[in-house]
Each structure stands twice: as structure tokens, then as C-alpha cells.
């Protein structure tokens, strides 16, 4: 029985170096493109692009789109689309703005900047976003209205609900604690950032190592030891390097004085060169990325999301409640829109009527540039975040170089189409 005439194993093609190293070529390509982009802009701007200040700004500008792009991966993987994320962000932002500047301080008489305001506001916003998302999911999953239509309607509805809620006014300034989640106003500081960087590095190295151990335990081929070491080294340098750069961005002296004043302390004489460290908003993105990656790879929910995208009928026949799954996926998307709304409005320290405009396109583009297939079933969280980073780097780089606004958008559009074309070529070559 060991050999049968009807089934011979095809001769193994000799493995290329890349195959031996078990590297994800797609990921490498994206990282490569990102690095080339950054270095290119840095050369053109004579070193102004890769300064700590600009890296810091780039990070906090990417967060809002990146958070939503993570949710969009799941939506697109299940063969749906969400055109309403920018508008939903605006509605959540408007609800939270009214909660923290009107309802809590005046209607409930808690006064301005009450210590509980920020958390109550966020909970209200997250609940609103999740409920609206779940409602979209109900219309798509149970009433079988195409997601394109439901969210196109949602795009118009939520953008204008936001307008109605605020009367089109800019609402601000927002709660003093709330705006710490936006970026510059709230960072971990140098030592905590280092500590977190070290913890994250250790976790990443452990994950790489245990993945290798698991493969070895099952008798699968593993990378040569030196390759494992190099990969671990690069990972550690990348994480700690990022922390070092953010720490190197120094808080301006004036601002530092005001921070001490706000705490009722006197700034020590000669205190200079205090770095910002990791912004809270970036920390939120890191947590979202880790949690959703675990959901995608290691939970039943994630397995069902990908199975449904690969073959909805098969998923249904396997006993998966694909309708409820659709509700969950859109509810998660709504939750992440609300989270993005926190970060986006906190960064601007007010709610403006046009917040989140065109974000739906940026978010979908980030997911797609990051390798999410619109035909469903394929996509990664880290890809979407890289996609968001690449787009933001392009946009800020061009702005810094002085490219006219219309050309900036034209280039971003071209890059989107080109990225998908390269992806198609790559998949064809892989035969997948």
C-alpha cells in the first residue's frame, strides 16, 4: 500500500534560498517598498524625512486609518466591503464630543475635565460604534442586502447624523484627559517606552522561537540556526530602534514647563532633552494589532471568518452560523471605527464636521495594498497596517517635498492600482 500507481509524489523542485529560510516574500516586498520610500524621501528632503520628529508625526497620523484597516481586513476577507467607516467615525466622534463637552459637564453637572469624563465618553462611543456596526451586519447577514449598498447608505446617513448632532459646529476643546489619547499630548515617556520596547522584543523573540519549536516537534523543516538568529536580530533592532527614535524626539522646553505647571510642580533646574516616547495612540494600535492577529490565527472566530471567505456555502454546511458571523464582523468594524474616532478627535483636540472624510477609501486602500484579496479568504492584519503606513509615508513625504495636492492624490491612486497588479502577478507566479 505504500506505493500506488494512481498517486505518485511529484519530484520536489530544489528549494530556493528564500524557501529554505521560510520567509514571507510578500511581507518582505512590502517592508522593502516602505524602506525604499522612506530613504528616497529622506534623500530628496536632505534628511528632513527621517527625523525623530517626522517619524513621530508619521506614526500618530497613521494610527486612525491603521486601526480601521485591521477591521476592514476581516470585512473584506468575508467577501464584504464597508464604505461607511469614515462616516461612522464622524458619528462616533460627534457622539463622544457632545458627551464630554455638553452632556457630562452640564446636563449631568460633572463639570469640565472631571476625572471620569474621558472613560465614560470612550465607553459611550465604543458602544455606539459597535451597535451601529452590528446593525449594518444584521442588514447584510440576515436581510441579505449587499454590504456595498448597506454601507453606501450608511456613508450618507452617518456623515449627516454627525452633522445633525453637532449642528455642523466644531466642538472643542475636548476633555483634557481624553486628548491624551491623540498623540503628542499623551506619551509613555522615555523609561516606560524602553521597558515596553524590551517586553515587546522579548515577546516577539519568544513567538519566533516557539513557532520554530512547534515546527521542529512535528518534524517539519526549520530555518537554519543562523537565519533564525538574523531574523531575531532584525526584529529586536526594529522594535528597539523605533522606541529609540520616538524617545529621541524631545519635548520642547516651553511645553515641558507647562506640563510641570499643570501638575502643580516646579520644573527642576537644567532639565532638558526629555523625550516623548511611545504615544498612547500607537500603543492602542499595537494592542489592536496583536489581539486581532491572535483572533485571526488562533481562535474559532478567526477560522470561521477565513473559511466563510474561502467558501461561504462550505462554511454554512459545516454548521457555521454565517449570518451571525457577518453581524460579528461588522460589529467589530464599528467598534474599531469608534476607537479610531477617539484617536482622531483626540489628536485634533476637537471634533470637526469633516473628520474622517475620505477615510473609507484610505482604509480600503490600506487593506488592499496590504494584500487583502477582494475575492475573499485572504488577508493579514500586519499587511493592512503596513499598507496604511506606506500610504501615510507617501502622502507626508510628497507634502514635505512640495508636490502639489492634486498630484499627491494622483500618485496615491496609481500606487493602489500598481500594488494590486504586482500582487496579482505574484500570486500567479506562486500558482495560488
Amino acid at each position: 500500500m505504500a506505493t500506488s500507481p494512481s498517486q505518485t509524489l511529484p519530484a520536489q523542485a530544489p528549494k530556493s534560498l528564500f524557501q529554505k529560510l521560510e520567509l514571507d516574500m510578500r511581507l518582505l516586498g512590502m517592508i522593502g517598498a516602505f524602506i525604499v520610500l522612506c530613504i528616497g524621501f529622506d534623500i530628496i528632503t536632505e534628511g528632513r524625512f527621517l527625523t525623530p520628529r517626522n517619524v513621530f508625526n508619521l506614526s500618530i497620523q497613521t494610527v486612525s486609518v491603521a486601526i480601521m484597516a485591521c477591521g476592514m481586513v476581516f470585512v473584506i476577507v468575508t467577501r464584504h466591503i464597508d464604505l461607511s467607516v469614515g462616516a461612522l467615525l464622524a458619528t462616533c466622534s460627534a457622539i463622544m464630543a457632545m458627551t464630554q463637552t455638553q452632556i457630562l459637564p452640564y446636563t449631568l453637572d460633572m463639570g469640565l475635565n472631571h476625572p471620569a469624563t474621558w472613560i465614560i465618553t470612550i465607553v459611550v462611543g465604543l458602544i455606539a460604534g459597535t451597535l451601529i456596526g452590528a446593525f449594518h451586519g444584521f442588514l447584510v447577514g440576515y436581510l441579505t442586502i449587499p454590504a456595498f449598498i448597506v454601507t453606501l447608505g450608511g456613508f450618507l446617513i452617518w456623515r449627516n447624523v454627525a452633522w445633525y448632532l453637532t449642528g455642523g459646529q466644531t466642538i472643542g476643546p475636548l476633555d483634557a484627559n481624553f486628548i491624551k489619547l491623540g498623540g503628542t499630548n499623551g506619551t509613555l515617556g522615555e523609561s516606560t517606552s524602553w521597558a515596553l520596547g524590551i517586553v515587546l522584543t522579548a515577546a516577539a523573540l519568544w513567538a519566533l522561537w516557539s513557532a520554530r519549536q512547534a515546527r521542529a516537534r512535528h518534524g517539519f523543516s526549520v530555518k537554519p540556526m543562523w537565519a533564525q538568529a538574523v531574523l531575531s536580530g532584525i526584529t529586536a533592532v526594529a522594535i528597539l530602534g523605533f522606541v529609540a527614535v520616538l524617545n529621541a524626539y524631545e519635548i520642547p522646553q516651553r511645553r515641558l514647563e507647562r506640563m510641570f505647571e499643570a501638575r502643580g510642580e516646579v520644573m527642576p533646574e537644567g532639565l532638558t532633552g526629555v523625550g516623548y516616547g511611545l504615544p498612547f495612540s500607537v500603543l492602542i494600535l499595537i494592542v489592536v494589532a496583536i489581539v486581532l492577529t491572535v483572533v485571526a490565527r488562533r481562535t474559532r472566530l478567526g477560522r470561521y471568518i477565513f473559511a466563510t471567505g474561502g467558501n461561504p456555502d462550505a462554511a454554512e454546511l459545516s454548521g457555521i452560523n454565517t449570518r451571525l458571523l457577518t453581524v460579528k464582523v461588522f460589529a467589530l468594524m464599528g467598534f474599531l471605527c469608534a476607537l479610531s474616532a477617539v484617536v482622531a478627535s483626540a489628536r485634533l483636540s476637537n471634533h470637526s464636521n469633516d473628520i474622517g472624510t475620505l477615510d473609507e477609501l484610505r482604509v480600503i486602500a490600506a487593506a488592499v495594498i496590504g494584500g487583502t484579496a477582494l475575492s475573499g479568504g485572504i488577508g493579514t492584519i500586519y499587511g493592512a497596517i503596513l499598507g496604511a503606513l506606506i500610504m501615510q509615508a507617501l502622502q507626508s513625504g510628497m507634502a514635505m517635498v512640495g508636490v502639489d495636492a492634486p498630484f499627491q492624490n494622483i500618485v496615491v491612486g496609481l500606487v493602489l492600482v500598481l500594488a494590486v497588479f504586482i500582487d496579482i502577478l505574484y500570486r500567479k507566479k506562486l500558482g495560488a
Binding site: 474561502g310 462550505a314 479568504g377
Partner: protein, 253 residues
């Protein structure tokens, strides 16, 4: 010889289902006893797959009743069918192409670690065990099933149906894509499952295979039941004429 004196494992009584005015299944009654292989035969489009999809929860019947162990049951979706220990190998295989063999085998019934995360290592070990019995040459455990051959995909679908201790097994053309060697292995498997007291509905176009594997056979034509016969009482030609002419042969009437 199968003992058919007790309560049938499955009774499908007067099942009807129509799609937009077309009666795909029209007042069909079949039953199945423990340890029995019941063949379903008929032209393309006769309604065989539609009939068994009512039992597997994929379709809603318009009329009729299903009893299991003599008790009426409601099967409204595939989860209900699984809860009644009904497993199905679909003609279309129903695999998620982007997932690997292990994920497909356990789809909807993943093994989890104490923390509630899916236990891929344990599932793969189980998958290797069952595939080793069904198709020892199967090696592609880490590729999405879209990269498998038709026969390999069919092996995965068969493994999924037999792994979970079914009492009632539905096989819709399980060997359509298999080579002669693998087909023989499925025939052996059917004998083994039968000996364990599992009831099997087997849809197959190969009259010869039905004669060999089945205890009884039902023939359908244009959504209606032509008749049910005991295999020992009929010949290949009798079955063929039932399929073609749509009439029960005189000898078995």
C-alpha cells in the same frame, strides 16, 4: 443480511421540495436501518442530491417528515443534522479552498486549548492519523486545499465525514474523482463502517458498485421515487431498466 425488523434509523416520509415551481423531489419516502447501505440511483437531475440535502440540513423541505430512531426530528440547518450524528460527503465536497486539510477536517468543530485557542498541533496529529488510513500517500497537510488534486480533495471530504463518529452517513458520489485504488479503499471503508452498525445513504452512478456495496437501492426519476428494491433480488439490468424506463421490474415487484 441486514436485520430490518426493528425501528429504522432514519425514515424520510413523503418528502417534497420545489425550486420556483419545479418539483425537485416529489413525495419521496425512503428509510435506512442500522448497518445498512442504501443506494440512491437515477439520472442527472433526478433529485438524489436534493433529497439527501433535506436530511443534511442544507435545504428546507416543503412537505413530509423525518424520523430518527422512530422519533420525529426537525432538521433546519446543518448544525441540527450534526447534532443528530448525521455526517455528509457532498457532491461538491464543500471545502474551504483557502484553508488546509486539517482546518477543513475540523471546520465548525475545532479542538481548543484550555485557553480557548484553536489547537492546531493536536488537530494536525489527528488529521494525519485519519488521512493515513484513508489515503496513505497524502502529504500536503500545509497547503490550502485549492492546491490539491480532485481525488485528494475528495479524501479530505471523506475523512471529515467519518472522523466524527457518525451514526448516519450520507455519501453523494464519494468516489467520483478517485482512482481505482482509492475507490477500493472507500469500498473497504464502507464495509467497515457498515459492520460498526452505521447506516449509509450512498449515491452512485455506477450500477455495478451499487450491486456490490448496497443492501437496498432506491431509484428516482424526475423527482419521484420509481421504487425501492432488495439488491439480492435484482440484477444489474433490472436496476438499469428502472433508471432508464422509470418502472419497477416485474421480477422484483
Amino acid at each position: 443480511m441486514v436485520d430490518r425488523s426493528g425501528t429504522p434509523l432514519v425514515e424520510m416520509q413523503n418528502i417534497s421540495i420545489s425550486f420556483g415551481g419545479i418539483k425537485a423531489v416529489d413525495d419521496v419516502s425512503v428509510d435506512l436501518y442500522p448497518g445498512e447501505v442504501h443506494g440512491l440511483l437515477g439520472h442527472n437531475g433526478a433529485g438524489k442530491s436534493t433529497l439527501i440535502k433535506v436530511l443534511s440540513g442544507a435545504y428546507h423541505k416543503n412537505g413530509g417528515q423525518i424520523r430518527i430512531d422512530g422519533k420525529p426530528v426537525e432538521i433546519n440547518n446543518p448544525r441540527d443534522a450534526r447534532a443528530n450524528n448525521i455526517e455528509t460527503i457532498y457532491q461538491t465536497l464543500a471545502l474551504a479552498d483557502n484553508l488546509d486539510a486539517t482546518s477543513n477536517l475540523f471546520l465548525g468543530r475545532e479542538m481548543v486549548t484550555p485557553m480557548g485557542l484553536v489547537n492546531d498541533a493536536a488537530m494536525e496529529a489527528e488529521c494525519r492519523k485519519i488521512m493515513g488510513q484513508l489515503n496513505p500517500n497524502f502529504q500536503k497537510f500545509h497547503e490550502p486545499v485549492s492546491a490539491l488534486s480532485g481525488g485528494q480533495r475528495q479524501s479530505v471530504a471523506i475523512a471529515r465525514a467519518v472522523y466524527f463518529n457518525a451514526r448516519i452517513l450520507i455519501m453523494d458520489e464519494p468516489t467520483a474523482a478517485l482512482g481505482p485504488h482509492e475507490t477500493q479503499m472507500v469500498a473497504d471503508l464502507i464495509q467497515k463502517l457498515k459492520a460498526q452498525g452505521i447506516g449509509i445513504f450512498l449515491i452512485d452512478h455506477d450500477v455495478h458498485a451499487v450491486m456490490e456495496l448496497c443492501d437496498r437501492a432506491s431509484v428516482m426519476k424526475n423527482g419521484q421515487l420509481v421504487g425501492t428494491v432488495d439488491i439480492p433480488d435484482v440484477t444489474d439490468d433490472d436496476l438499469l431498466s428502472m433508471i432508464i424506463l422509470g418502472k419497477k421490474p416485474a421480477s422484483a415487484a
